[in-house]
Each structure stands twice: as C-alpha cells, then as structure tokens.
Symmetry: C2
Subunit: 517 residues, 2 copies
C-alpha cells in the first residue's frame, strides 16, 4: 500500500451545496455570500458553492461566489453529463482557483432503481464525463455516490478508470450514513491496495450522520490514508446531515498526538462560521452540539465546577478560545455547589459571612429549582434579599392595557403596586406594544433596562415568554406564562426590574460599608 | 481473552442524572416523572434516576421514580463515601429492582487536582465504598471517572480490586470525550485480557461527545466486548452531552449484520421519548439530529426525491416507522424536481396538462425561493393562481389595531381591502390580542382556521413571526417581519387566508370539472 503522501488534510466544505440541500435550509444569494465569506475567513481549502444545473438561482450563486471569494478553490457540482459540466464551466469562469466535481452513483441499488444502468454503462459514463471535464479544468473530482454500499471490487474498477481518465481527486461517499468506522477504514485500505494509480490522486471521503457516525467514519478513513474530508459547518445537510467540519477539525487538532495530521483551518473562526451558517440556513445549533454549541464549554454540576476551578483540564480537552468562545462558563444552577457561588459572589464584589452565605446558598438553590439557569443579576438579587431581609418583590403587576395600530404608534398603560402598598400608573408609547409595555414599566419604576432578546411561543392560547435583559454591566432573565402575550411580557419584565432594583440596593450597601471601613 | 458472554447489550439510560446535569437542562419532579415513564415505555434496562446526595430535590426525585416506575432497574449515583451510599439506599428503598452506582475518579489529573489522593488511596477508597454498597445492594456498579485518561495498568488494578470487593458492573467512562474509537476499543481489550475476574462482571462504557465521537466510541467498545452502554435520550448531558441512546440503539439494529447484537429497546417509542426529554429539559432537538430530528427522514433535493419514489432504500437505511415517525417526508422546496410536484399534485387531486404544470412548477420554485419550505396548502394556492390566472392576493391588510388588558378581554380591529377594491372592517375580542387579531380577520374573510403553532422572536424592535395554520385537512405556513409583533401576526395570517381561499377555489373548480366529465 502506498504511504499517505502528506500530513496535511484538505478540508472541503459543502455547506453551500449538500448543506443547503437539506429540507428547510435553502438560502438566498445574499445569505450564501455571507456564508462564503465566513468560510473564506475560516480557511477552508475547497469551497463547494452549489450545483449550477439544478436551478438558475444555484447557477447565479456559484457565479457570484466565483467572482467574490478569493483563497479557497471554488468548486461546483455536476451530474456525469456534458450539459451539467458545461454549466459548471460557465459558472466558475470568474474563479481564480476552481474545481469541477462530477458524481455518478455506483451502488447496486442506485444503479438499478435510480439510474437503470449496468456496471459497464456506469464506468463508461463516468469516464466520458471526467474526460469532458478535464478539457476545461485541471482540477477534477469524481464522487462515486453511495460508494459505501458498492461492491468493493466494482468500486476499485470505477476508481481506477476515472483516474486514468484524469480525475485528480476521488471521493468515496457514505451517502446514506450506513458505514461503521472499522469497516469504512477497511474500504479505504482496500482501494489504496488495489487501485493502480491511486497514489496520483487525493483520496477523499464524504460521510452522512444517519447513525451518528459521520465524524468517526471520516476520521477512520483519514487514519487509513484519505487526505480530503468533505464536511459542512454545524453538520447541516440531507436528512441527519453531513460530517461536521468543526468536530472533525477539532478532533484532528485535539488528538494530534494520535493522528499526527494537520489542517489549514483557523479554528478560532469556528464559532463565527457556525453562527453565520445557523443564521443563513435557519437551522439552530443544538445547545449540546460539540465544539460550537452553547453548552460546549459550560459546566453546572458542583463536582465539575470544583474541578474546573482547580484545573480546567479536569473537564475540558479544548480551550474555548481555540474555537472562538470567550471563555468557559460556570453556570449557576441547581446542581452547582458552594464553591462556585462563593467564587461568583467574590467576582461581583460580595464577601458574606458564613451565616449569610449559607442563607444565600439556600435561596439560590430555591430560585434555581424554578429557573433553568441564573445570570449574575439574578444572583445579586438573592444576595439583596439576604442582606436586607426583604423579599425580592418590590413591584407587583396589577394591570396592563395596550392599544396599537398598523402605521401608528402603540401605547401601553401599566398599573404596579409598590412595596409601600401604593398603586402607581403610567403610560408610554412606542413602535410596538411590547416596547410600549417596557417603557411604561420603566417610567413607573425608574429602572431603564434594555431587552436584548425575547422569545414568545405557544399553542392553544397559552403563551410562554422568555426575556433577557441588560442593565448596565449585568444580564438578567425573566420568564412568564400567560394567555395574553403582552401580560406575559409585562410579568417577565417586572420580575426582572425587581431583581435589578434589589441588586442596586445590595451594591449601594456594599459601597457604603466599604466607605465606612 | 474471555468470550463476551451474550449477544444482548444492556441499555443504561442516564438522561435523568448526567443528562439533567447539563447547564440549563434541570427538571422539576413532575418533568422527571414524565421522562421516567417515557423511558419505561422505551424499555431501557437500567434507569439512572439521580444523585440523591446532591440535593433534597434530587433525593425526592429518585425516591419518586423508585416508587412509580416498574420494569427497569432503578439506579442512583453516589460518590465513594458512606454518606452518599446510605442516601442511595434510603432513596431506592421502594424500588423493585435497584442498583447502587458508585464513582471515583482514577486519572492522574483528577487524582492530583480534584481529589488530592494517591493511587493507593484511590484503590482503598473505591474498595471500601463497593464493600459498603454491597451490604445493601446485590447490584453494584463502579465507575472509574475519567478512565479514558487513566494509566491503563492502574485502571486494571482498580477494576480488579473493585471486582474482588463485589462490584457486579464496571463502567469505563470517557468523561471528557477524549477517546478515539480504535484506541478506546484497545483499552477495553486490554482490560478484558489483564483483569482477573473480568468475566464475572458486565463491562460498561459511558462516553461524552466533545469531539463528536461518543456513539462511535461506544460502538467500538461494544465490538471489543463491552455489554452495557450508558447513554441519554437526544444525547443531552454535560457540555456536548452524552452518547445518544437513539443513535447507538439504531446503529446496533440497522447494522445487526455487522454487530450481531441486540438490545431490549422498543425502537418505535424513540420519537416519543425524544419529545418527552426535549420538552422536560428545554433542550430542542436539532433539525438535522440523527434518528429523531425533524429532517431525519426528510428529502428535498430532486435527485434524492426521484430515488426515494423509486425505492426508499436508495436514500434511507432505516424505516421511519421503526423509530416512531409516521413516514418519510418529501419536502417541496427550491431543490425539488418536477417528479415530486407532479406526485404531490396528484395526491391533492390535481391533474394539470403539461403547459399548466410547467407554469405551476415555475411558480412553486419562485415561492420556494422566499420560503424555506412549502406545505400542501401553499402548493394548492399556487395551482389556484395557475388555474385562474389570478394573483394569490385576495385580501390586503390595510390596518390593525388592538387593545388588551390584564384580566380583561383583548380586542382587535382590522381593515382589509378585498380584490374588488372595497375596504372591509371588523373587530373581535378574545383572551389575547393575538387571538383577537385572528378572529377579526376570520370575520371579514369568512375563513375559519386554527393557528396550530406560532413563534415570535426578535431584537431591536424588529419581530420575526412564523405561524402554522390548520384548515380542514391542510396545513399552511405564514411568515412576516414587522416592528409591531401584532402587525406581523396579522400579515402572516392574511397571507395564509389568501392561500386557503385560493386553494378552496381550485378545489371547487376541480369538483365542478369532475362533475362535468
């Protein structure tokens, strides 16, 4: 078997082609260009921009990427026929570095049910297509669609013939996510042993995640000598998606001791690329997604937090800033221990004696039982309760009414009861009834805060509201349920204002006590 | 090396313990019981219900599961000390079948930075804890936390000693998601070769997904002789989460030809369990999640849809009903081809001549460029445009105003312009201003439809609205952006009403033309 010629793994991104093909992920031209720029910043080696023969929009997108993106090789897909290949040639004309990617299925089930072609016809058609592509391109990739379910000896035959015909990269896709790592590695070894001329081309793999094995199959193939990995950011793609770029890149990097390989990816751009693709595709990243998920570097369990404070290596194998996260996040929640609360309170400037600390700890745990996570502002409000012996509720919502109309201003009127029992009413207007509700509450309470994010959803008349509020350098969270979404929004905001108010009192007291000492 | 004694893999679910430990995933007692019932229906062998020493709430939850769940072995976690183990004993008293799960870290970094213990002390403490647990339990599991980063020979020593002390299951966790499948399999082989008495216990693995390899590592360990897999539904858990139950189970089943192993999971309950865990934890499942994601059996690309219509095996390796999905979903979107549109139109009862079909195809592609996916009702509306030569817009939104108040009724007034140019106004009241907007529009247009789901979100004053509407047996989608959320809602609903109206006209025309022929 020939030695793998290099320790450099080529990263081929297909977020804009196979990724965008996912039901519900389609992007318009502007969205595609934003993703392409993020991929350029990330340093992908090959950027597959689309499938020009699929639609005029796809053609336009490929041509636009070819004009605007510099650095990566811009690639476009074609079926194994002249018309598709000629469309690729035209669309990629403006590109500096370019590749034509021709695919034709090789598995028995695709030959019989999709193509209606014999093995001889598949070989002939693939060879003709590669020859035709080589007339316009120096860089031509051939993909044997559904290779993982193809008879290994027939696959060897096809691959050998397309290499003779001039293919410079040969890709072995696991189109339906059927492969098992040990087996898939065996297939790569088989190809590298049996195919004449295999050492002249880059051997590539393209894995799907139907059984959750796309990354593992890709890495197993790389261990067996493949040197191009086809992947998408966030693992978007048909069905369960493609091999996730960020996972395969960070596995190669984190376990460089094992793989002894490198990529050209600027890993600190991974989070930015993930956000760009999530926004453009509309596919939200799961909170527990590896490498780029919101929780990838977050810890709540007391035992883990204790370990993290002693040495981050106890529970983290990557550094968050390596992938573009600001830092590890020790989340205060019901599983957190005293260690973290004391640490967090010290960061916020509080030094509580043991009795008060224990009371604060109990109150924080109680609050955490109702809320899934606590922000700094929420914690400070608890401390306020402990320091002042006061309940958190300074203000109580008695009533809210709104009026709004298209083109005009929205108005809201709010009635709150203060701690002194007095009812206070005020109104405000704004572009939207939500804003008007916030402004009315601010007028009454004197607390100006910015709602950074809100989510409302629900069915059958019951709305769930979640808001995240910024006040000076602190973030607070509020949640509420209500039949009327505006009442829910008002309740959540009053809850937050009460906490802001309580935190302010603790901070004033802190400043005064420091002034006295 | 001893033969693996059985072809049955024990499925140990820790959604309620390691899963719930994820920042933001905490569940209250009622939520935990709902998940426990879903796990019971799923047929998990071992159900880890919590960590009783962690908090009174955790203790209560374990005790409640122990009282209410029958079938699975109910398990609870303890650190390697008497107090924790005694709490487990108490909490599990009501359980029919029960297990005590004791953990103590073994890796150098955990010994030094977290525990401050020498290797001798780790062994002594683990052995004492197992002996103590065996006084109350026949079924005792020991976990060597961070085993994957532990010196293999020391790991052998610890495992041998805890087996002598009476452990019946020994678990090898990859606590930080550091392992590579080939290497992790090697560790399992090493243990099975070197440890005296290893054939008397069930060897288990517990993998984390930090590099996207949790499922692959678990399967590699099973190939090497492990016979218990620890996992969570949807892969929730610390950081990037745990090995996903549905993926490992479906990989074993789909590739039974390779693994020759079986589990006791009722796979057709997987989707139900996934939904239960997503709802209780608040962790949404990614659309491209393997096995249970919304897209797992969805196809939009024309080439794939063509293949699927010929034979589902071309692009699917599992049947959707095997995991509790109703059916494969061929999604109409911008990548879809004529095959699917013709098929879908026939299902809806339309037979268009070639000229009209081509016009419909072009219009569907245009609509799909703006919307990420199209429901049946949306398609029918396009056909209406083609059949009647009319634009889709029957109604135009001119104005909407709302008034609402806490405790009282919300009212909305809406002005629409009909196709005849006449302005029509009406008002309605409801529990919420959203409902009032819908009811007003229904009064004017005469179209009664149920909003099945809505999502509103946004920052800086611009709201994004998405609604899904049911009308008779059809589903429609509407989207809009507006500064005022209620205006956005009204726009999206009018868009849908226009499509319902158009679809109705096509269906009437269809019925009439059929009556004529």
């Amino acid at each position: 078997m020939p030695e793998a010629s290099t320790d450099r793994v080529i990263v081929f991104d297909t977020s804009l082609r196979d990724g965008e093909q996912a039901p519900g992920a389609s992007m318009d031209l502007e969205q595609k260009l934003r993703v392409a720029r993020a991929l350029q910043a990330l340093g992908v080696d090959v950027l597959e921009a689309g499938f020009p023969a699929a639609s005029p929009g796809d053609y336009e997108a490929v041509a636009a990427v070819a004009r605007q993106v510099e650095g990566p090789i811009v690639c476009a897909l074609a079926r194994a026929n002249r018309e598709d290949i000629d469309r690729v040639t035209e669309a990629l004309r403006p590109a500096g570095r370019k590749r034509c990617h021709v695919f034709l299925a090789t598995s028995p089930i695709h030959r019989e049910f999709k193509l209606g072609l014999s093995t001889t016809e598949v070989v002939r058609r693939a060879v003709e297509a590669i020859r035709h592509a080589r007339q316009s391109f120096d860089d031509v990739e051939y993909s044997a669609e559904d290779a993982a379910r193809t008879e290994p000896d027939f696959l060897c035959e096809v691959v050998e013939k397309v290499i003779e015909a001039g293919a410079t990269t040969v890709n072995i896709p696991d189109t339906v996510g059927y492969a098992i790592p040990s087996q898939f590695a065996g297939l790569i070894v088989h190809l590298r042993r049996r195919v004449r001329g295999i050492e002249r081309v880059v051997l590539s793999v393209h894995c799907h995640d139907d059984l959750g094995l796309a990354v593992a199959n890709t890495l197993a193939a790389v261990e067996a000598g493949a040197r191009q990995v086809e992947c998408t950011v966030n693992g978007i793609g048909e069905r369960a998606g493609n091999c996730s770029l960020e996972e395969v890149v960070m596995a190669l990097r984190t376990r460089a001791d094992h793989f002894q390989l490198r990529t050209g990816i600027r890993t600190q751009e991974l989070c930015a690329a993930s956000r760009a693709v999530a926004k453009a595709s509309g596919f939200a990243v799961a909170r527990n997604k590896a490498v780029v998920g919101q929780n990838a570097f977050a810890h709540e369990a007391g035992i883990h937090q204790h370990g993290m404070m002693a040495n981050a290596l106890t529970y983290e194998i990557m550094r968050p800033d390596d992938v573009g996260f600001e830092s590890s996040q020790l989340v205060l929640g019901k599983h957190s221990g005293r260690h973290l609360l004391r640490h967090r309170l010290e960061q916020l400037g509080y030094r509580l004696d043991d009795v008060r600390f224990e009371r604060a700890f109990v109150e924080v745990k109680k609050l955490a039982d109702h809320k899934k996570e606590l922000h700094d502002g929420d914690v400070e409000a608890v401390v306020a309760g402990v320091l002042h012996g006061a309940a958190v509720g300074q203000w109580e919502l008695l009533g809210v009414s709104t009026a709004s109309g298209a083109g005009g201003l929205a108005t809201a009127a709010v009635t709150l009861r203060g701690r002194d029992g007095k009812e206070v009413q005020d109104a405000a207007c704004a572009q939207s009834p939500l804003e008007a509700v916030f402004r009315s509450i601010e007028r009454i309470t004197g607390t100006a805060a910015r709602v950074r994010d809100y989510q409302v959803g629900g069915v059958d008349g019951e709305s769930e509201v979640r808001i995240e509020v910024q006040h000076r350098d602190r973030t607070y969270s509020g949640t509420a349920q209500a039949a009327d979404v505006l009442v829910g929004i008002a309740r959540a905001f009053v809850e937050v204002v009460n906490r802001i108010d309580a935190s302010g009192r603790s901070r004033r007291e802190l400043a005064e006590s420091e002034a006295r000492t």
